[in-house]
Symmetry: D2
């Protein structure tokens, strides 16, 4: 693997479970994380969108980061989400992640005010200077509110330890364009679940997915079919099989749907943090039907 690019394959994003009193349930986080590692994923990523990162306070974020690194215990790489609205807090969490032993950090630039490219560049540059960990620049305008073009992402990759890009716009053209402007060796990852097959075909190094909580086997099977075996017919079959689930979790929002899915599979993960509400009952039923089909 390239220097400072510690990730490939299925990168499992973990939810943040809560206790009934509303506090983060670190014990359950440990269990869920251990279970995901055991399922065979190639890396673990706490404190992403799936992990309800923006709804946690600083202490909670630190506890989740530290607990995850300890639970994984070096079996696979851990990439910690350290995004904050201010640069100062982002630096703080990047340093914390490094201190507790993470292998990489992920940063999505977040908007209230739309940031200029110069502002985003300085934001990444400032954090990069404050840590020696490799950084994944994460583009997801649907959640973060800011869109980074392939051309701009290529510019970010010139910052020494910004070494990876995660693309979640759902536009496969962005990935091909990124290869054009950043070179064929660029380490890019797919964050749009329904794009998983197309992204691997385009040369993505990995797939960042919360689906690893619910269907780790199928996500790994897709990876093997398309990347290891180059068997497109098999890849299409396993992809189309899991596509209804991928569409469902994207449409309903990852924390709501993954929490509901884990409960359907037997693990209570507690209430989401308000204003987030549990998945409505009718949608839980739809999810149950999808999961039942997949088990068949």
């Amino acid at each position: 693997m390239a220097r400072n690019v510690p990730l490939r394959g299925i990168i499992g994003y973990t939810i943040t479970p809560f206790r009934l009193d509303g506090n983060v349930d670190l014990d359950l986080l440990r269990t869920l994380t251990g279970r995901m590692v055991a399922s065979g994923v190639h890396a673990i990523a706490p404190l992403g969108s799936t992990g309800s990162l923006p709804y946690l306070n600083d202490e909670e974020r630190e506890a989740v980061a530290e607990t995850t690194v300890k639970a994984v215990a070096g079996r696979v790489p851990v990439m910690v989400g350290v995004s904050s609205l201010t640069t100062e807090r982002t630096v703080h969490h990047a340093r914390f992640a490094e201190r507790v032993g993470a292998d990489a950090v992920m940063i999505i630039p977040m908007s209230y005010w739309k940031l200029t490219e110069e502002e985003i560049f300085r934001h990444f540059d400032t954090v990069a200077r404050a840590t020696s960990l490799p950084i994944m620049a994460y583009n997801n305008p649907a959640t973060g509110g800011l869109d980074m073009t392939p051309e701009f992402l290529a510019r970010l990759l010139e910052i020494p330890n910004v070494t990876m890009v995660k693309e979640s716009t759902g536009d496969i053209g962005r990935m091909h364009r990124l290869r054009q402007v950043a070179g064929e060796e660029v380490a890019f990852y797919n964050g749009s679940n329904p794009l998983a097959l197309a992204a691997f075909a385009a040369g993505a190094r990995g797939w960042c997915t919360a689906a690893a909580h619910l269907i780790p086997g199928l996500t790994l099977e897709l990876y093997r079919a398309v990347v290891e075996k180059a068997d497109l017919a098999a890849a299409r079959r396993v992809f189309q099989k899991q596509l209804p689930l991928l569409q469902f979790i994207v449409k309903g929002g990852l924390p709501r749907t993954v929490a509901a899915g884990l409960e359907l599979l037997g693990t209570e993960v507690g209430p989401l943090r308000a204003p987030l509400l549990p998945l409505p009952e009718s949608e839980v039923e739809a999810l149950r039907r999808i999961l039942t089909t997949l088990e068949a």
Copy 2:
């Protein structure tokens, strides 16, 4: 004025000034607030988008709220922005605003995850139950990331102390539609600067604007021409005169452009909080030309 609708006219939004060390400059906030009251605006609104609300920590927000209320000293109503990503923090700041003597609070629902209407409704309802202050529901998808339809805003207005709506989409049709679904007496306010004339023509009670920092006289003149004198020809003249400034501050982002404008007018307001950067020099020049024309 209707019960529990304490605002009308020009509602001046204040920036949050910073000291060179990066901390909030409460002395200067006092000065700027006093100056804006003296200019004749009908209300003062700290901790809005203009006030860089999402970039401040809890202690800073409390200090700005308390300082503003004291500086205004009852001369005009004060509406404090209390938005947070979580419901719990929003409740906290609404209660704080009430405790220090604010006349109203403003809440924009904020996204990382897109909230469902049910989630947004519960969010407002929970805060409304926790305070006796009237609440302005603020719709601005361009910053908050969530869009509330006129139909949904009408539903929010059924919560007893949600009594006001601020519309910032820039679509005048939303205001007419709101009157259709919430009744002709609905108290709505315009938050899209380039829509100021059209919104008053549509029956808006007020105009929420950071332009009151730079051109308070012109904003008040528009209000008088269209609302008090019903002189549309005069209203168009004074509106078209200030339109280049209104377009400029919207396009460049309010904190950046208003800070630059205040400095051009002689008041240093300190660095913005990173990742926000000062307005680029070429744009400062453009702003200087606009302001010079307005003084002529």
Copy 3:
């Protein structure tokens, strides 16, 4: 009125009625046109979007143009729509309109391929050189597929006989911007029905509307309230009253809804040309309720 700007006020757009055999019903067109003139509108505009222009062949278009001019008989100005995908056909129809005595022509640039600004400019310039009639440049990306910015429209207005602009984007900011870039005396017209009040407040010379088929009195009342009497409260009342109808005809498509409305009011106007179908029955019912309310 300015030189070469023959239109103001309520500009009534006529539908093209069909006989049961699918051919254009010129007798009924004569009747409908005469009725609209008698209702008091300030001008008549055949062969617009309302008139199903793009679905007629050349001979039909010529017959409609000639029939309309004769039916109006000089009582009010007639503006004929002459748009075609090719420049050559547009020139042909502009010349025909001039020959039969029209007072102005209207041109919407139409896309299959998105045209560059240079292509649109040449298109207008070529037609303008081929006729001495004043030309209204019509911007409606929702139907024509091409969007012309205020800046570009100002450039078109430099062509000697392009003297009027019709704006149908529904964005009131476009009209204020047009005044900024083309001068306060620019002759612009509103083509977005739900924007009628805001557009007159912004200084529009007229309102281009198919609603004149169904509620000519209310459209004229709005014009008088806002333009002649500057009575904004009265204007808002009469505007909000007709707004449900305006929203309905825009949402359902003008030919379908206006045809259904005329039939509800007692005049059969024949089948639309395929692929256009009649308004579905449930929507006809909704329209009936709206019209009933307006008559009350």
Copy 4:
């Protein structure tokens, strides 16, 4: 190949060349078509977007259809574009295509007025009843102005001789969704050039492309690498190589850019029909650089 699905592989779209007097150059059309067949493409498609279909009159369309079928002389299948704004004209051209010996027809529903799904369905159904040729339903909102969802396309495929779908939105998710709702055996084709690799990976039967005029060898090489050899690494290499050209012709518009490209390669194809203008000189230079790189 499935019954009534006569197309697969590289489907070459031909431009319509013009003489200096503005008329269609049928001799040159014959030459260009023959050359494209000789290059090895699997099918020929005149009168598509590339062929400037909407800018031709009925007689010209008929001449192009007939000339193409004769020039191809049965060596590969010919699919003729027969789209028109009205259903009646579409039926006319579909029947003409059948009479002169085409193997299939392609129909894009075209908007001036946005059609309802019922209107589009009836349009296709009426044409389908009037011809025995298989029909390709073509979805390209960027040109036709109407968007058909995968769910609706699946409904169209229930009409007996609507047997193929061409997707040109550029959203790979549409293709996976189409397989979900219409079954794994659905015959779908890609019309978005920069999506060529992803579409084949998703199971597209063919790639509809005007690039076959300029780089037939590279388009065929991509097809062989991904479909015949399942060699994704080789497919990525040949795709990334031609991607700059694919992006260029999409961005600049197919008739303009392909005409310019053919002239750079030595064949004058005459003026485009107004309002279309030739590619600006600076862009011709950019195209020359791209083509030079590809030849190297």
